[in-house]
């Protein structure tokens, strides 16, 4: 089952397409990282998936065919908006009360137990909680709805390193406990390395890279060798850094990792290197299956 599936999905604000011809599938049971530069359409895509806004073009389905914003879509998806907002003047207990009454399903006992475990006092106003505690409160409200899909928009941006770690640990524990699928947008690439097992890279309103993280890492490598021979590399080059004498080429390998050309060294790539390489080359794409044909081929340099 795909928790989110879009076909030619687009959203226009005035003259600007925030998301354009977006075709993707987010498989269930994954922790999907949604990355991309500012203005790439990440938040728009999330808002479309949770039913906060209507598409201008194309279609979107959630939870295996439900319409975003439908009763099933609303019940099965929990959304935590950017920077995990809470009502500053309401106590944690009041926020539980309100969320319980605004939703058809709410696990009050789970919410109270989770807050107790985190040491977040029910009576304190949310505005008086630390940033990390506010984020945990927002996460608790979302998880207590027992969603099939948890959508998190930049939850880590304003958190300190310890709070980031604890927040992600909470999300990961929820995956382990309940098998909830997660889509998370973030700029913190290094933080995603350990948590994401599916990656979607949006750029200029379009999908640039999509796939299982393991597959993506296995199908790319970094070749280091003499700049003069950069043109002899046959694998598609995603991004090249050429010095006077030395060249670093991040290349896509075709299936099995090929042999290393003489004079060259091959290194595995990290998720961060991979994402940065594609961000620097908006024309390059790595997409699964038929979607590939719809996009430009990866740039080749030094030809």
């Amino acid at each position: 089952m795909n928790v989110i599936e879009t076909n030619g999905l687009g959203k226009r604000y005035g003259q600007t397409w925030a998301l354009n011809e977006c075709t993707l599938a987010v498989p269930a049971g994954h922790m999907t990282a949604l990355v991309g530069p500012n203005g790439a359409g990440k938040t728009t895509l999330m808002h479309l998936a949770v039913g906060l806004t209507e598409p201008s073009a194309g279609t979107a389905a959630v939870l295996g065919g439900e319409r975003p914003g439908s009763l099933a879509g609303l019940d099965g998806i929990a959304f935590v908006a950017q920077d995990a907002p809470v009502y500053k003047n309401m106590s944690a207990a009041d926020m539980l009360h309100m969320t319980r009454n605004l939703n058809r399903h709410f696990d009050q006992r789970y919410a109270e137990a989770r807050l107790a475990e985190l040491g977040i006092p029910l009576g304190r106003k949310a505005g008086r909680l630390s940033g990390g505690q506010q984020a945990q409160l927002a996460l608790t409200l979302a998880l207590a709805r027992r969603p099939q899909l948890l959508v998190l928009d930049e939850p880590l941006a304003s958190l300190d390193p310890l709070a980031r770690h604890d927040f992600m640990a909470g999300v990961m524990a929820a995956i382990a406990d309940d098998g909830v699928s997660v889509v998370l947008s973030s700029h913190a690439l290094a933080d995603l390395e350990r948590v994401a097992d599916y990656l979607i890279l949006l750029s200029r309103g379009k999908v640039q890279v999509a796939g299982e993280v393991d597959d993506l890492l296995a199908s790319h490598r970094l070749l280091t060798g003499p700049a003069a021979e950069a043109g002899t590399i046959t694998e598609p080059v995603v991004h090249a850094r050429l010095g006077g004498a030395q060249a670093h080429l991040l290349v896509r390998t075709s299936g099995t990792a090929g042999s290393v050309p003489p004079n060259w060294e091959a290194h595995p790539v990290t998720l961060e290197e991979l994402v940065l390489a594609y961000l620097r080359e908006p024309g390059a794409a790595a997409l699964p299956g038929p979607v590939l044909e719809r996009h430009s081929r990866p740039t080749e340099v030094a030809r």
Binding site: G29, H30, M31, H165, D166, M168, A169, G170, M172, A173, I175, A176, D177, G179, A190, E193, R194, V195, A196, D197, D214, L217, P268, T270
Partner: protein, 179 residues
């Protein structure tokens, strides 16, 4: 999907750890496994492989023995903030190697051992290696030089002995859990 659930009753008899290390009980403070995972973000080894290697390392050094429980997926995940699928992948790899086995509703348990010799012998070997290291150091080799020499000598040694039969992981002395 995840089979780990908190369990009660863990094999936890106190005994001395390897090489004289003070390990009061097999079960850790959280009452689960004798080992805890850590992650090295800078080493470039995929996370799941780090977990596999740490279990193998613990098996070689005797920190883990057949019947011991590996850390529960949920515990690993909420300590290290990593994806549960990563832990499951590591445990599946260990199962494939015949080193661990999952028990439905309980967790994953060590199935075989990698420590090839008993502790006293290991200690004696370590002592004689210390002697050699002192000689090499006195002769002017630094750490990197020693590693390079040792690695190359070891490669020669095993090449000369022909293809080593039954690589590591081929251990056959499977022991049923003692829980």
């Amino acid at each position: 999907m995840i089979i780990d659930k908190p369990i009660s009753g863990v094999p936890g008899a106190a005994r001395a750890g390897p090489a004289g290390a003070r390990v009061p009980a097999r079960a850790g403070p959280s009452g689960g496994s004798p080992i805890e995972f850590r992650l090295d973000a800078a080493c470039g080894v995929p996370t799941y492989l780090q977990l596999v290697q740490q279990v193998e390392h613990a098996l070689r050094l005797g920190y883990l023995e057949p019947g011991d429980q590996l850390p529960k997926v949920r515990d690993v995940v909420s300590t290290l903030a990593i994806n549960p699928n990563t832990v499951l992948k590591a445990y599946k790899e260990l199962e494939t190697k015949g080193l661990a086995a999952g028990r439905p509703g309980q967790g994953t348990f060590v199935q075989a051992t990698l420590s090839q010799i008993a502790l006293p012998e290991l200690t004696a070997l370590r002592r004689s290696l210390h002697g050699w290291l002192a000689t090499a150091h006195a002769a002017g080799l630094d750490g990197d030089g020693i590693v390079a020499l040792f690695t190359s000598a070891m490669r020669d040694f095993f090449e000369r002995r022909g293809a080593a039969r039954g690589r590591r992981g081929g251990s056959t002395d499977r022991t049923e859990g003692v829980a």
